[in-house]
Symmetry: C2
Amino acid sequence: MNEKIVPRTFKGTRDFLPPEMMQRERIAGILRGIFRRYGFAPLETPAIEYLDVLMGKYGEEGDRLIFRLAYRDAATAGLRYDLTVPLARVVSQYPQLTRPFKRYQIQPVWRAEAPQLRQGRFREFYQCDVDVVGSTSVLADAEIVALTEEALSTLGFERFRIRVNHRKILAGIVEAAGLGPVWETPICRAMDKFDKVGAEGVSEELVRAGVADEARARLADVLEIRGAPVEVLSAVEPILAGTAQGPIGVVEMRRMLGYIEAFGVRPEHLTLDLNLSRGLDYYTGPVFESVLPDLPHIGSLTGGGRYDGLTGVFAEVPVPGTGTSIGLDRVMTALEQMNALSVSCSPTLCLVAHFDEATLAAALRFTARLRKTGVAAEVYYDADRLKKQFSYADKRTIPFVAVIGPDEAAAGRVTLKRMESGEQELLDEAVAVERLEEAARRLTSER
Amino acid sequence: MNEKIVPRTFKGTRDFLPPEMMQRERIAGILRGIFRRYGFAPLETPAIEYLDVLMGKYGEEGDRLIFRLAYRDAATAGLRYDLTVPLARVVSQYPQLTRPFKRYQIQPVWRAEAPQLRQGRFREFYQCDVDVVGSTSVLADAEIVALTEEALSTLGFERFRIRVNHRKILAGIVEAAGLGPVWETPICRAMDKFDKVGAEGVSEELVRAGVADEARARLADVLEIRGAPVEVLSAVEPILAGTAQGPIGVVEMRRMLGYIEAFGVRPEHLTLDLNLSRGLDYYTGPVFESVLPDLPHIGSLTGGGRYDGLTGVFAEVPVPGTGTSIGLDRVMTALEQMNALSVSCSPTLCLVAHFDEATLAAALRFTARLRKTGVAAEVYYDADRLKKQFSYADKRTIPFVAVIGPDEAAAGRVTLKRMESGEQELLDEAVAVERLEEAARRLTSER
């Protein structure tokens, strides 16, 4: 035999073994169901894209992080870096797609990070994006916020905040502070840190950026505005009067808040945070993200906003869009830290034991009957001692074991053991099926 | 602005736009449900693997078809070529996994084919594998056959055949024809073509391979054996008497057929085909595949068998396994050719029209109410003419449009139009919700 190869995963990537995958599939299933109820349709694009399609969209660092294929020459193709560029490509490539084009996409992306240098950054991870392409209506933005609330609630989060703001309000704030558009980027970057470093931290940052005292004082006033979204909006409105973009932002935000309310979003889940800016060069209208007040270290679970230049590199006429990205890894981590993930190694509800060759046919028929009624069941393959079979059920966290010995087989009965309590009952086969169906229903509604 | 980049997909890969993706998700959902009911748990592995993990398992051609990354140097890593090598790696890497390890895995794989040369071959395609690792019991093989039947039936296939055979029966047939083990490969390869080229074609092939007349006559006799699986087995049994492996194959096959029957597999779905061999160097026990008699050009929808050397390259002690691969692309093509795929561009059941700004809040509340009851609904974003909104519903194949104008809003009512028939009714909001819930239930049960 040849020398053995050490089995190992490529650095910075992960295997998802059954206990984690079962949770991941549950979460993806919940999200797909919500996306569809909101009228979003699924899209998938290939992992490999031509390099000219990928390059030049993520800045210099992004370009460096693209995994290139050694296919023909390294200049030909690479692995997708996100789901936004593929969306832009698809929208430009298939003009026959009806607009607004509402799509969701849940696929992995790849980044050639040096994994040892950046903790918690992976070279392969899933992105989960929902976007509306081809409408300028803030109704679309409001819908993304409503969808975000429904997604987080359904996933099991109770205390969370969806933070919203508007890039035009931010532009107005900068102008109202007496500063030109060139200041937007450094000021937004500083204000965005408010939640982490507080008002003083922001002020220090602004000093470092070279913002004059008077402008800083005006910005500080804005950051002190607190209250319900409509109150914050009313408080900032007079400050923005006379600026080029501020009043447009206020009008759009007011309409958006109205739509969000009509969609039934609960007020405690929504804040208008004037310091929120998100992707600086990218977003042009409303921006939003969601955070967990109890787990601030996890960062935002979702984030997005309106962008207008999506297809700019592919088409003459740029197409507007809005959408959000849901951080599946962060959602998983948060649910884990809330102990809201059930730990289960197997989907099986009932292990049907292997008593002997003579009763095996009865055991197989019972297994098939359970499966037909929707109960996840498996039969033990080998004629091992029952003790070993129970231990297998235990290790695989299978809640029930059914035993059909000669007496049971002759009488059409089953001994059903509940693994957690250890109690066991001799039941008619039909009754055992009912019990297990009932347990399956309970499990489904709990999950 | 820079020069525009031509939006295009990497050669040999595909975008799955919503109409196709909705079908793909439906099919994947059905399969996942069945896998779980059979006690298989999900597994996912990274797209990128170290080259030494990938190489040397697929033969020389396979090695050439591995997409290599231009990461550091091309000798480091590549994209996975199938789901079997990652399974072998996982089983060797995590000895703590309870065995038998039953997993399913639905993920894309990549092959650097020259796509223009080979029609219908893609450089990226999904594989869908179900395997039992760590048991030598033919009960596991029988279960894979039962699962295959349930999967194909549930996907909508009625007329299909699951063909089974056993590599040890094949070895016995070769020995009984008076030929040594070195002949197994050319003879199996020739016999495997029986369905395409008939008895004469096989005979010609055997002449070309240099098989003597007497041996050919004996092989021809075997190929003429027809009948129900147990009959075929009884007919071949005396021929194999005295061969080294044949009798073991017969005993195992007889037990396997008993288990398959006990699992409730319908006899018309099963044949024992003595010419079937599948992967020559790979399988060691039972082999199986499924075909559609009415669509023979599609080839096998599923294929698999028992292999014993799975983890050989990673571990000293090889681990036995059995499993099958379901060809998602072929399943899609077959359902398409049977007109069994519903064509739908959108998951939305009801478009809620945008009448004017005054009634919009009522429309949004109605939309939210539909979604809460599980009805997929979307609201039209812009204040366009109703005609344009109906045309949007039409293009997106949305079956219902709800209009809430000022009269409807004041009375808590909705005008509901059925797009197919054109009929429309003025209904109380609650009644409209009920109608749509009913339609959603009908649609779910149809799909």
